[in-house]
Symmetry: C2
């Protein structure tokens, strides 16, 4: 199982991704991770808020890395982002529509409810946006344009994930991929 | 208070908007609405799943109507949609970042957890998308193009709401407004 702290955090990520912050109980994290309850309190003495904040931030790091890897190479940004979003569509479909990102639901649920988790969600989204922005700057966009497009891409992809999960098909994400490509190809 | 059934439903909408499905308890709906608990079970004998399904669908109808009203008149679709999304940005800011739509969080939380609520979320998103699509068709888009753009607009706006709530500023939605206008003006 590797590092037990990491294992608890990964379990929390998976549960938060499927059912959000309020839908996920500490006991469920303990049960699913197979960790003794004491070790959960040992590693996360501040409980569910701490685990969720760390899980969200870790998800942000992992996703930002995936974006960087997905967009690496010297292809142009429009095509790279298009292909990356198609991969998300396939991933959401193959996960039986439970996958997406723990970020989305947690961010909505806690935006005005927990300052600590809210700040972690901002950090996580900032990592995602930065990963898109860097590819755009590499491709010759000005910093200001890259900033705006990166925010727009992040919004469209997040919304596409929600629609794909809701309709149980990757097609909304495929539509997002197509139109981002059109916008970025101008 | 008008119709007590409607009043309970509106209270549920407000709570779901702020804190999602799992964050909202039946007792909280009873307490906030001021309705006697018996009347809640009288109007919604199937409990929280029933209330949530109906609340989500009602939110979809109200939002679709707002989209239709916001886009009415003979202005072009690109400008009308741009202005409509700016209004959402202002609305999210003036609500202290709790507003948005009960749909978003509930859709994410329940996509693979409750078939009944999931179907209600689909119906609600279909109403929103149809409201955008109609404006586009009125403006001369082919049906196929209007379908795709409407899905893309809905995704970008949903994602923009998430980012605006998370960052506690309407700016991500303003960026979405701007880029949708660019895309639709082509």
């Amino acid at each position: 199982m590797g590092n037990p702290r990491e294992h608890i955090l990964q379990t929390a990520c998976n549960l938060l991704e499927k059912q959000g912050y309020y839908g996920t109980g500490l006991n469920e994290i303990v049960k699913e991770s197979g960790a003794p309850k004491g070790s959960l309190y040992h590693y996360f003495p501040e409980g569910k808020e701490q685990i969720t904040s760390e899980a969200v931030l870790q998800a942000g790091k992992v996703t930002a890395q995936r974006i960087q890897d997905g967009l690496s190479g010297d292809g142009n940004a429009a095509k790279a982002i298009h292909d990356f979003v198609l991969n998300i569509a396939n991933h959401v479909e193959s996960s039986d529509f439970a996958a997406g990102s723990p970020l989305t639901a947690v961010a909505m649920e806690t935006a005005s409810k927990s300052e600590r988790i809210n700040l972690a969600c901002r950090d996580a989204y900032t990592l995602l946006t930065a990963a898109f922005r860097e590819k755009l700057i590499e491709n010759g966009y000005t910093k200001a344009k890259a900033d705006e497009f990166a925010t727009f891409i992040t919004a469209a992809v997040e919304g596409g994930i929600i629609l794909s999960r809701t309709y149980h098909t990757g097609n909304p994400l495929r539509t997002v991929a197509k139109h981002l490509k059109i916008l970025l190809s101008q």
